[in-house]
């Protein structure tokens, strides 16, 4: 099989996943297209290194790299933040969720809350909940240990569950039960 038909058969079926990830990371339709195109060019170049049955995680790893390179060129502040500092800030803010979701907190929909998550949390959440990948696959794509995947997921979920809108929904649906 040539490299190009390998790409078409094994990588291209994951184009939606690639675009979805790039779109959630860049939060912009046009930027996401640029990132995916760049990722495809890279994937074509390295497609010989792809092992069977591994295509989705492999391709998403490339997409994530392309995203971060894109951030480095276009929005360096987004990836400049120290991840330890983000974790600390989030944990502090846990006591007062309104500090995180200040702007239009009452009407902010869940999707806006996801978009507002710090980048390191947003990526693990999207990979787990929308792409349904395992901890191991996410660890590989995001280049972090499995333990870090778990702690970021738990912080991301805590943030979303504390978003005022979610609380309101929860308050209605489970009033009197808890």
């Amino acid at each position: 099989m040539t490299g190009h038909s390998r790409f078409e058969e094994q990588v291209l079926p994951h184009l939606d996943a690639a675009y979805n990830l790039a779109r959630w990371l860049t939060r912009d339709a046009h930027d996401a297209e640029d990132v995916v195109q760049d990722a495809c060019v890279r994937a074509m170049r390295y497609v010989d290194a792809l092992r069977a049955g591994d295509a989705k995680a492999w391709f998403l790893t490339i997409v994530r790299h392309a995203c971060y390179d894109w951030f480095r060129r276009n929005r360096p502040p987004e990836i400049a933040a120290d991840e330890g500092a983000i974790d600390a800030a989030v944990d502090t803010a846990a006591l007062s969720p309104e500090q995180i979701f200040t702007r239009g907190a009452e009407t902010r929909a869940l999707q806006d809350a996801v978009a507002a998550l710090p980048l390191p949390y947003r990526e693990v959440l999207i990979l787990r909940e929308l792409e349904e990948l395992s901890y191991k696959e996410i660890a590989r794509i995001a280049d972090i240990p499995v333990g870090t995947v778990m702690s970021r997921l738990s912080r991301a979920r805590a943030l979303l569950q504390r978003s005022p809108l979610l609380q309101a929904i929860d308050g209605q649906s489970s009033r009197g039960e808890r």
Partner: protein, 258 residues
């Protein structure tokens, strides 16, 4: 299993990461313990809401087409030269017209059709060359933002001297140049970066009377053409058509001797 043992595994279980014997005893604990069951259920509830309310962004068809075209272009790069001439004549011979009729019609419509066809080929060839260089990672053979470095490099390898200008002040930063081919002839390519986009500008001594059509979209790339300062200018990029057209006209309008 008690709460202390179960707690660290509850979320992982909701993520489908706990199986076997541990999964079995954890399930048993969840039936008996409201606290752990609540935590477990919270993850599942959030997931249900996420999948219902958070959009999954599917790749637009235009992106899919562009990627596919890029793959196919790469696939065909070895046979590009051979295919070029075949397609040109194949177009005249195809359709309702066969042999003699085609010859007769070509006689009448003659140069207009062939010139139009040639300009189409030129645009297609430029896109193919751009894709090939991008895929091969060799957009620039000489990488420099200095026109006084790029121009002599190109002049030394071509039998003409292309005008080279850096337009960084207008957003188009010169990043280098390379030698490439259009219509079987060596031409100069000036490579610019505009924001996050790469722009290839093919330059050759003027051969066409007028660049028609001045703007084309091929495989998701825009091709803007013009003539000026005794050169043919063909710009290829995914930069939007208006910006690209203004840029190539600006280059062609400039004094040829910076």
């Amino acid at each position: 299993m008690n709460c202390n043992e179960a707690a660290p595994m509850v979320v992982a279980h909701a993520d489908g990461e706990v199986d076997g014997l541990r999964g079995h005893s954890l399930k048993k604990h969840l039936k008996e313990c409201a606290t752990c069951a609540g935590k477990h259920q919270a993850v599942l509830d959030l997931r249900t809401k996420l999948r219902a309310e958070v959009p999954y962004h599917h790749a637009p068809q235009s992106l899919r087409d562009r990627v596919l075209a890029t793959v196919r272009a790469a696939e065909g790069r070895s046979s590009v030269a051979r295919r070029g001439t075949g397609e040109r004549w194949g177009w005249l011979l195809s359709g309702a017209l066969g042999g003699c009729a085609a010859t007769v019609l070509a006689w009448f419509v003659g140069t207009a059709v062939l010139e139009w066809r040639n300009s189409e080929d030129l645009a297609t060839e430029a896109v193919t060359a751009h894709v090939r260089a991008t895929l091969g990672g060799h957009l620039t053979e000489v990488a420099s933002s200095d026109q006084h470095t790029v121009k002599p490099w190109l002049s030394a390898r071509l039998d003409f001297s292309p005008p080279v200008r850096d337009l960084a002040s207008e957003g188009f930063a010169l990043t280098g140049g390379r030698r490439d081919y259009l219509g079987g002839q060596p031409v100069a390519v000036l490579v610019y970066r505009y924001r996050d986009h790469m722009v290839d500008v093919f330059v050759r001594p003027q051969q066409s009377r007028a660049a028609t059509p001045p703007l084309r979209s091929i495989r998701g790339f825009n091709v803007a053409r013009t003539t000026g300062t005794a050169m043919d200018w063909v710009a290829v990029s995914d930069v939007n058509p208006d910006t690209l057209t203004a840029f190539v006209q600006r280059l062609a309008r400039e004094d040829a001797s910076p």
